[in-house]
């Protein structure tokens, strides 16, 4: 039996820290609406237009997407609860830069991508930003070979909607049942 529910039930979702230089200083924002686009060559995320980070992304036309591990949750929550207008979030992490030079990335995150803005989807209160992934950066110890990342060891997080609203670890790998 189905029951109607008001609101989004797309779950679980990835959680990332989007980085941008704002007035010359790295700033990091927690974003929970993010997806690869264009066969994985680009990335989409949605940001509230009034966000401090949005100004930096539009000014530089670059940003980073950093995928945190579960042990960073305390710092994720600080990033998600404070604005860069009031709090210097560059002190929370060690920042590194890649090819673009203006997209600050978080060394403590096992997976990072530096991106350049290619398209904007302008909604009412939010801006959808699509960026080309210029270069990804992965912790050495997670690379099994040049094409394989050990995502179990990376210990990533997902979050849930539908009134559940929690951060979860990944569970068991689902074994493919024999041909059904």
């Amino acid at each position: 039996m189905k029951k109607p529910y008001a609101g989004n039930v797309l779950s679980p979702l990835p959680v990332v820290l989007v980085g941008a230089n704002v007035e010359g200083r790295p700033n990091y924002l927690v974003v929970g609406y993010v997806a690869p686009f264009d066969f994985g060559r680009s990335i989409f995320f949605s940001i509230f237009k009034k966000r401090y980070t949005a100004g930096g992304i539009l000014a530089n036309r670059t940003f980073s997407v950093n995928v945190p591990s579960a042990d960073l949750l305390g710092r994720i929550e600080i990033c998600g609860s404070k604005s860069g207008r009031d709090f210097d979030k560059s002190t929370l992490f060690e920042t590194f830069y890649g090819k673009l030079g203006t997209a600050p990335m978080i060394r403590e995150c096992p997976l990072s991508m530096e991106c350049e803005v290619t398209d904007l989807i302008d909604r009412e209160q939010n801006l959808g930003i699509i960026g080309r992934v210029v270069q990804s950066h992965v912790d050495n110890e997670l690379l099994r070979d040049e094409k394989t990342i050990d995502m179990v060891t990376a210990d990533l997080l997902v979050w849930t909607v539908g009134g559940d609203s929690g951060y979860y670890r990944l569970g068991e790998r689902v074994k493919e049942p024999k041909a059904s």
Binding site: K2, K3, P4, Y5, A6, G7, N8, V9, L10, S11, P12, L13, V16, Y33, V34, A35, P36, F37, D38, G40, S42, F44, S46, F48, V65, V67, L73, G80, S81, S112, M113, T118, D119, I121, R123, N126, H137, V138, N140, E141, L143, I149, M151, A154, L156, L157, V158, W159, V161, G162, D164, S165, G166, Y167, Y168, L170, G171, E172, V174, E176
Partner: protein, 185 residues
């Protein structure tokens, strides 16, 4: 931590859904792994290849559905992702139901469903992206507890792209977000 360069996106883990549309009057379901909510969860957006059989239906009707499968449906999810509705009648794989929109077929076996109407199709340099308004969501009755979705009992899964390519069940709760006000994205 020393870093190495890696080619392509490394965003993970990702949701795995079945997008439904009526094509020539028959329900069709396509596996989609690139999809995100936007506008505070009132809308969803996903890129679509215009040559897809499903896109015809989405364009014809201006409606579609997003169905969130449980782990037990993985073989059917994979079949929907590897065959085209041009060749295989995917409506035979599931029990279809309709909601308010009448033209957005939803999968009864999936614990969670959303019927959506197309707001716009944003053409970017690389792709066509469907932006839809979530008109109504549907949840299996036994999963609705005090007006919330009991996500831990829904058997949900995530997949990893980027050189891992596996499907994982939802793991243990690390922390609830209820102590915070719901952050705006």
């Amino acid at each position: 931590m020393a870093k190495q360069e890696f080619a392509g996106t490394v965003l993970a883990p990702l949701p795995l859904v079945l997008v439904g549309a009526n094509v020539s009057g028959r329900p069709n379901y396509l596996t989609i792994g690139y999809i995100a909510p936007l506008e505070f969860g009132k809308q969803v957006v996903f890129p679509i290849n215009r040559t897809r059989y499903t896109s015809q239906g989405i364009l014809e009707n201006g409606t579609f559905s997003v169905n969130i499968p449980s782990v037990g449906l993985l073989p059917l999810v994979k079949r929907c992702g590897s065959t085209s509705g041009r060749d295989v009648d995917k409506s035979a794989l599931f029990d279809t139901f309709y909601g308010e929109l009448k033209t957005a077929p939803m999968i009864r076996e999936c614990p969670m469903n959303m019927e959506c109407e197309v707001l716009e199709i944003v053409t970017t340099k690389q792709s066509h992206n469907v932006v839809g308004r979530i008109v109504k969501s549907y949840v299996n009755e036994e999963l609705l507890v005090d007006g919330n979705v009991a996500v831990q009992d829904a058997g949900l899964m995530s997949f990893t792209a980027a050189g891992d390519l596996n499907v994982y069940a939802l793991g243990p709760l690390v922390e609830t977000l209820h102590k915070h006000s719901r952050g705006k994205q």
